[in-house]
Symmetry: C2
Subunit: 759 residues, 2 copies
């Protein structure tokens, strides 16, 4: 198909290629998947400005003006997001708790009768049923599998993954995670809660939000609210959204996130206080992982123990790096051999559920051991209550089975036991066994077709590791070091930090989930070391999984140093295949262009005036203009726009027959799903007409000079949240475009190799 622009005078000596619209848009990757990007900067067209001014002036002078109205609606929506996400998290907790309790109650009653075999059968059956149920949710909506954090990160980074924020995805995720947690798989519900928060935010604001930027800000609030409800950690949630999520962050978004988090945690507390007298709230309800109570000196740490915490942090970093590496290789294998068939994915879940059941029942069965329950004298209220969480597993009354208390119980209970019981509760053998088996199971599990968070398994295995370490240290220097439950907290942080490589947000999340600020410095130190050591080997697990998604080009916070040494300029890395349009264009050209080229934005080039860049126009505006038949016959087809120097107001010439403006409200009406060009019919008569794009052009697009360094281009692109950055020469003629695809590490590496040849 040839849509070449024969009426245009081609004065330009540059390689404009309006006639080559059928080229391969993905020059660096041969993947078939084409993931769209989001646009996080505002429109600057005349149409938008007119719309904005009219809404502004409509209420000007009245007390209840447009700005106040908007703020009010926004905060009502944020409160609603907090309310819904708080309730979702509460009911998810209740459901998981209910199912897990029932499961263990039944199995325990069979165990009491002495029949290990039937107990195992009952346990196995329960777990398999729940796993099958969880996987069913993922079969219905594949986007609901996994943790959800990589997907939310992608969205906040500006990648438009399909169906990521749909209500269906959210429902499948929440229902599925109840199944997978109840199935006793080594998964947590924290990642899925983040995703659920994002879905809630997107759903609540779907009808009112009209642009990508506003949507992103709400989703960031929702994600923060998700973390907040998952761990009862409102500040941690905000910091998570800041550290992990947002490429761009402003004070007003911080403030909104703060409000949304407060609402969601208030909702969660209110639900948690149901049943208590008059809304009173016990400490056990406030902290997800139990309260690290202030005790005598030995519950705290000495300053010199910080050195031991440095070592634990480094170990955690290495454990995390091994975990990430193994899981990456497994995921590669999975993509190749399992993921292409729904049946195989389902079968895999059932297999892994079976293995988990066999390990969790078999190991306590083989390594049978009974220990006297410690005396409750001098214990805190919380510890006395925790004693009830010890598992007997065939041990006589008054004794407990240490291995079973870790394997054969709910993950949250195991974490609390590891965090809060004092030394000698768990022998080293039980801790070592549990650590090795559980982390191996977690490595295999993350990535199968169930909703699965990574926080609880990492924390649990880390807590066992830390406690083991603490026990050993205690044997070497007794009476000088902190209790081993302190070490279990540090170990948990180190292993989780080694996987997720977060620092500030994890510190705060763990502080808020355990209630005691005295551990702020040890946590900071171990998380810092875990991150530094882990980063020597590989990147965090979320990034690994993002990079394994086909067609996704995630932009990291900073450009890697190797590309930053000014070896590359914007002119080297840009796509030179430029598809442009003129300010006043033939309908036939516009239509054919849209039909053959899938770009989301087009530069508008004034071929009548030195080929300079006039502005940009988005695909959906062109589509809507065609749909609205905003076309006409020009009085003088070759008339060029009036070239006044300060081009503040593009004026239509009086003697032309173009149809009037399409208001901005109509242009944005279909957001975010616009009618595709294939559904718009243009008659042969219309094809000869002209379309005036000038009022809808963004006449101040973001541009960089071709001599700009890649580092600056990258910074501009990412900081301002662009979808397309135009590269101009010094005459302001557009010579190329930079999109997300051109800024990935792979694309830049290739550009560095072919640099000489490209010029």
């Amino acid at each position: 198909m040839n849509v070449s622009n024969s009426t245009a005078t081609r004065k330009s000596k540059f390689a404009f290629r309006q006639d080559s619209v059928g080229y391969n848009p993905d020059r660096h990757h041969n993947s078939d998947v084409k993931i769209a990007s989001l646009t996080y900067n505002e429109d600057e067209s005349e149409a938008y400005r007119a719309h904005d001014a009219s809404t502004h002036y409509k209420y000007r002078g009245t007390y209840w003006n447009e700005g106040k109205r908007e703020i009010m609606i926004r905060y009502i929506q944020l409160a609603l997001i907090g309310l819904i996400q708080g309730s979702v998290a509460y009911f998810c907790n209740v459901a998981c708790h209910y199912f897990v309790e029932r499961k263990f109650e039944r199995v325990a009653s069979i165990l009491e009768s002495g029949s290990y075999f039937f107990a195992f059968l009952s346990y196995f059956g329960h777990q398999l049923t729940f796993a099958a149920f969880a996987s069913l949710a993922v079969m219905i909506e594949p986007m609901s599998g996994g943790s959800g954090i990589p997907e939310v990160k992608c969205f906040l980074n500006g990648i438009d993954l399909p169906r990521i924020n749909d209500i269906k995805t959210g429902l499948c995720k929440v229902i599925g995670v109840v199944g997978s947690v109840s199935a006793g798989l080594p998964v947590g519900k924290e990642g899925p809660m983040v995703h659920s928060g994002a879905v809630v935010a997107a759903s609540v604001t779907r009808s009112s939000v009209r642009d990508d930027k506003a949507r992103r800000d709400f989703v960031a609030c929702g994600a923060a609210s998700g973390v907040c409800t998952a761990f009862s950690a409102p500040i941690g949630g905000m910091l998570f959204a800041f550290e992990e999520g947002a490429s761009y962050w402003s004070q007003s978004v911080t403030f909104r996130t703060f409000f949304c988090s407060a609402c969601s945690i208030a909702t969660l507390y209110t639900w948690n206080s149901v049943g208590s007298s008059f809304g009173a709230l016990g400490f056990d309800k406030l902290f997800s992982f139990g309260n690290f109570i202030f005790e005598g000196m030995q519950a705290s740490y000495s300053v010199w123990e910080l050195l031991i915490f440095v070592f634990i942090g480094c170990m955690g970093g290495m454990i995390g790096a091994i975990f990430n590496n193994t899981n990456e290789k497994l995921t590669h294998w999975r993509i190749k051999h399992v993921n292409h068939s729904k049946f195989r994915r389902y079968l895999e879940v059932l297999c892994i559920s079976s293995i988990v059941s066999i390990v969790c029942f078999g190991i306590p069965f083989i390594f049978h051991e009974c220990i006297q329950v410690p005396d409750t004298d001098g214990m805190s209220q919380q510890q006395v209550e925790l004693i009830n969480r010890f598992v007997q597993f065939g041990c006589p009354e008054g004794q407990y089975h240490p291995t079973a208390s870790l394997f054969f119980t709910d993950g949250n209970d195991a974490i609390k036991l590891l965090f809060h019981m004092h030394e000698h509760t768990f022998p080293e053998k039980a801790l070592l066994l549990f650590f090795v088996c559980y982390i191996s199971l977690a490595t295999v599990t993350y990535g199968i077709a169930v909703p699965s968070g990574l926080f609880v398994p990492s924390l649990l295995s880390g807590a066992a590791f830390g406690r083991l370490f603490g026990n050993l240290i205690y044997k070497i220097i007794p009476d000088k070091v902190a209790f081993s439950n302190t070490y279990s907290l540090i170990g948990a942080a180190a292993v989780l930090g080694g996987m997720a490589r977060m620092t500030i947000s994890l510190t705060v999340i763990l502080l808020e989930a355990t209630g005691n600020e005295q551990f702020v410095l040890p946590l900071m130190i171990s998380l810092f070391c875990a991150r530094v050591v882990g980063s020597l080997f590989n990147t965090d697990l979320y990034h690994i999984h993002i990079h394994l998604k086909p067609g996704v080009h995630f932009l990291d916070g900073e450009l890697r140093a190797i590309s930053g040494h000014h070896d590359l300029y914007a002119g080297h890395i840009m796509s030179k295949d430029l598809v442009f349009i003129r300010p006043i264009e033939k309908v036939a050209t516009v239509y054919d262009l849209l039909a053959t080229c899938d770009h989301a934005f087009f530069p508008v080039v004034d071929t009548e005036d030195r080929d300079i860049l006039y502005g940009t126009v988005s695909r959906h505006i062109l589509t809507t203009l065609l749909q609205q038949r905003a076309i006409g016959v020009a009085a003088n087809p070759s008339a060029s726009p009036n070239r006044n120097i300060v081009q503040n107001h593009v004026t239509l010439e009086p003697n032309c027959n173009y149809v009037p403006l399409v208001p901005y409200k109509i242009l944005e009406r279909e957001y975010p799903a616009y009618t595709p060009i294939s559904e718009i019919a243009v008659s042969d008569n219309d094809r000869e007409c002209f379309i005036d794009i000038r009022p809808y052009c963004n006449t101040a697009p973001h541009t960089v000079q071709e001599t700009t360094s890649v580092r600056r281009a990258y910074e501009t692109f990412r900081t301002l949240g662009l979808r397309m950055l135009l590269v101009v020469n010094k005459y302001n003629q557009c010579v190329g475009t930079i999109t997300r695809d051109d800024l990935t590490a792979e694309a830049l590496a290739q550009d560095m190799i072919t640099k000489g040849k490209n010029l």
Copy 2:
């Protein structure tokens, strides 16, 4: 003086005014003070690129390459900053504690002998001496007065206040604040600690840092470390730097701040553990405001009490707004009547110190009351120790004086008493008296010529207010509400939040200073309400004081809504008085330009090629080029640069006699204080030579189209940390510049009024 460019062909029809360099650069403000700005974006000249590439390639292939070397040095510096600031904070604490203890010991011993009059004289004399000493430090270095937080905020915003980061300023600040705290003035040492952290950071890195951006990042780390050591709040410090300070924040800066905070808090803890056995650290050393111990139900709060906290938050917002308003008016008066004379400033300090002494001694004397010291049964260790902090003030053994325990003691002790003793410790009358008097004194004191933080006085009066409220609530609904010490924490947060309008960082600082995470939601709620209510009336106190500084143009996080409605474009607000230079320029022109125009950057305009914008060059590069005599006689004076389209390499023509390049190392050698132009002599012979600016030009400056909305121009300017934003028309001809002065609220308001006339 006329330096008009007669050799240039003036083809342009735009109002270039190279001949009008003597115009008033400050078009919106008539102040005489000219505060320079900082540049937070990187150089992109050929000279810099050559330098960067050469350092990069020098070590390429070796293990210990330039990047690793830089990172290593940076982290050593950060550790050093933490170490020094931690030690400064510790010794400052120790000195304050020592002086205050001695003062009260002596006065108490005279009181015991029964002589109120001599006790008062001794008290009065001590306080006056310390106040005179504190004020002396400010007389030596005026920049060390006040809190220091506004100054640090200005620096991070890009305003180059003179002497702000000098060692002398830091020393005067730290020594002065010991004096002012010992003088019993209603001031805290937290603000000065922030300033001290910034000074430490700037001093440690002075020799290695070669650009404003790196310096800013270090100062941000230092400020965070200052907050961190002031409150023992490492996470709070980071969030403070994020929320209050930085206009720009990146993940790598977050990580560095995290490291620096960890180092400083580790240093502080290590110093604090001196004297304990083997580095052990008690809880009393961990938390600045004492540890909110987990107790039974009533120490916590019920969910429905959150509504009461909303009310307290709103009240705190109003109190803060009144405080800010009164202090603003007082400061206006002070600027007019006091600040112009050093003698008057000194006298003012002595007067206020006298008033403080009279009030703090007089009120306990007039309202004499003795209460039985409560029984220590069932008290926590901390409360038992706090009982020793009760002040007798003439009461018999076993009794204490409630009013004196608030007025006649160290501020930190009073806060701890208010925070941790249970109900009935302070009668309502004492609390009301203390609240009213203390906040009035604080209002008068903030702004006098002593180093003075605002946190402790706000927290202290807020704690009294909250406790008063708690006592009243308890009378209405006894046994249902939390203890009044919980209310005192919420009240303290509300009043401080009402003044400083911080949310997330204050929440975390208060949590870290009191050690108990259970109050996260109440604190969030009250701080949110305080900010919202306070913002209805005025802005925060730091902003008020920033705006009172002459010549300072602070750029807020977001443009005010009124300018944002696309009524204004970049073309409306820009300065049209353009002073430009040509790529190859006569020495005479350059010299005269530098001598008569104080701009820091000059656009380089290629008058031989359609007047397009060639790049920008900074003042100090031109000065250095003249100093280095990088001049020569052109083979062909009118030779214009080789116009190849992709201008990646500006090549010197072979037949020209220009002297070779001045390396970048020489250009940056004098940073940050460059030789002024007046000290450079240029002979009459040299004046006729030419200077080739092209290799030193930034050929990819940040530009905006004149049709760009103000909102976007503002965002670009602030997000990228620019000093000058060039405005170009669609042919890439420079038509104006936007600097910090053009983007203030006042300048924009004026532009809106004169919009039509300007065009």
